[in-house]
Structure formats: structure tokens, C-alpha cells
Amino acid sequence: MIEKPTSDIKAYLAEFDDIPGTRVYTATRARHGYHINQFAMSLMKAENRERFKKDERAYLDEWQISEEGKAALLARDYNALLDMGGNVYFLSKLFSTDGLSFAEAVSSMTDMNFPEYTAMMVAGGRSPENNRSIKDNLAHGRPAVAPAKAKSE
């Protein structure tokens, strides 16, 4: 007999908030970040990329994005953009416009620089140990998100 997943959407969503260093792309975030993500999608077209690169601010002013959102986009502050409902698959169009690899852009969201991040990945990636639950981490006096530490260390 298959257990039916919860149909209590509030309980379902609440569990996601307990995962350290992670913003699950929920409906709330999708609504909040709609214009940020659609702006990023517009960069799929070469002529839009050119216009954006020529005058980023002017291009952003064509979109219904808050001042805060525009500032985060101009600063390439990806964690702030995630908080505002940005999603990495859409934001990746901005990575490629900047000529950044996916891994390099992703590393900018962590507490490591790109060479350190690459070294962590080659050593087997970030360990799930102490990285599963904010509640559990706090209950055991650990930081909410485990600091970076490659497995080989």
C-alpha cells in the first residue's frame, strides 16, 4: 500500500523551510520573483543580451522589478535574488550573459571562492552531515548551515 503524500499544503511547504541554506521554489517565490525570472529569460535572445550589456539599468527599467530587485540584479547578488523569488534555472541566463560557468556562478552563493568550491566538489562535494535540518542543528548548538568543509579534510 502506497502512503498518500500529505494534501495539507501548509504542512508540506513548512517542511521545506527547515532545510539549511536552501530556498525551495514554491508558489509564493514563483509569484514574488515572476518579473525577475522573466527578465532573465529575455536574455535568451541575442539582441536583448546586447541591449542589456549596453545599459543594464535602462534595460532593467523596462521591467516591473522593485528597486531592491534591480539593485540585486546589477550587483549579481544571487542569494538576494533567491530571497526575492529568483530561480537558478532562470537566473542562469544571466550567468551565461556574463560568460560565467554554472559552477562559478553557483559558488558565488556559498562562503567559498570558485577555486575552493571546485576543490570541494573534486573531493566529493559538500557533505550532508549537519546539513539536513535547521531545527536539529540549532537544537545541538550547531550553526543553522554547516560551514564549508571538504570531505577530504
Binding site: 503524500p5 532545510i19 544571487y78 551565461s96 553557483v106 566529493g124 562535494g125
Partner: protein, 280 residues
Amino acid sequence: MARITAGVGSSHVPLLGVAADFGKSTDDYFKPIFDGYEWTKKWEEQEKPDVVILVYNDHASAFDMKIVPTFAIGTGEHYKPADEGWGPRKVPDVYGHPDMAWHVAQSLILDDFDMTIINEMDVDHGLTVPLTMMFGAPEQWPCKIIPLAVNVVTYPVPSGNRCWALGEAIRRAVESYPEDLNVQIWGTGGMSHQLQGARAGLINAEWDNKFLDGLIGETDELRQIQHVEYIRETGSEGIEMVMWLIMRGALGKKTKLLHRHYHVPCSNTAIGHIVLEPAD
């Protein structure tokens, strides 16, 4: 009668496409990954499938936030590789099998799976990287491909149990198609990876390998894994593994392992690959 003769699971990391397209697949970094697909390339040459039903997710290429279909099936004749921001991959165009795709789409809808129908779209690395890994770099892809796109980005995504059940329904649909065709089903994406936030780079090799174990034999325990477990244990993008369950569900009660491969890392991701055949 058409038959599903095998299932293939594989990661679809875009960097693998770059490595293959720019002749880097024998570099130290990539060789251990590509070596694990050599067995499958030879096996595919012998198997010569007529059709591959390729389960994947679109990465903001064909779909944006305007429309988010949960399950969508490609019934078109022809799909071009998508421009994902650095020009389309120089790989062959993808040819569909509209007759079988429409048959499967109609059968699934009558079987309570309310599919979205896609006649025109471009296909991104989620679909073309697995083709490269399994078939190499031919002039033309050696078979017809029916794309089956799953939303694994905007929550709630479909449950693992629902994905497995869709696989079961795909098998019934394929087996009611009159022409004698050799059909494979591929489930792609995963394994562990998180592409966002402070926890980016998470890899859980132990969990991934248990997942691979669970695809083999008679067990159907993987159906019960909830979304929160995928995210907690394997990273936010590890959720893509639900797509492997569509493949597994289409193989019937029992499977036999033909080939298995696992490697860390490829960019931000753990590479997993498995070849199974139905063993009922």
C-alpha cells in the same frame, strides 16, 4: 505490438554536452564519467531501439514561467536543439514519432493522466545530453525520440508515486500500439546536486547509491520517498530523480540490472547511470 525492452537512467549535466562537443571527453576530469557510458554505447548499437521515450525536464528553454505543465508529451515531427544562452549545441535535430506519441498521449489521458500536448518546441541539454552519452556523436540520432517533459522546478512537482504510476500507464499505452516496435524509456536528471544558496555543492553518494539499488529487482519502496527527503538528502535539484521513477514504473514488477555507473563530480553534480531490463 510495441514493447518496452529496456530502461536507462542518466544524469543530464550540461557540462557533459560541452565536454563531448569540444573534444574534452578523454580529459582527466571527464574520462571517468564517459568511461562509464562505454558499455551502454556498445549495447545500444546492438539493441537498435526504434523509439526512445525520453523523460527529462526543460531548464527554462522551451517553457518559462508563462506556462508550467506538470507532464507534457511531444507529439511533433521534429525538434531543434535549444539556444541556452551560448548558441544551440551542434548536435543532430531530434525526430519524433508523432503517431506513437499521439497514441500514448491519448491512452494516458483516458487512463487518468491529463497530459499537456506539445507540437512545437526546442529541446535543451536535459534531452540532448543523454542522447550524446548513449549514442555518441552520429550524423543523425539512430532512432525516433518522444520527449516527455516533467515539471521539477516549480513546487509542488509531481510525487514520486505519481511518476511511477505514469510509467505504468506508459507501458500499457506502448503495449497497445499495434506496430512491432522496440521501445526504450529513459529517465534523466539527478543525482545529488544543489545549485543554489549556502548549501550549494551538496553530494550524498550513500543516498544516491541506495536509490540506484532500489531501481533493481522487485522492490517498489522508492515510490514512497517524499519531496522533502530528496531535497534534504540530495540537494534542491536532486528532486529530478523523480523522473527516473517514470522509467522504473514502465519496466513492470521486476527489473534486472544490466549496467551501473556512479561518479562524483561533474560540475556541481553526482553522475549516476543505470541500464535495466524488465524481468517479469
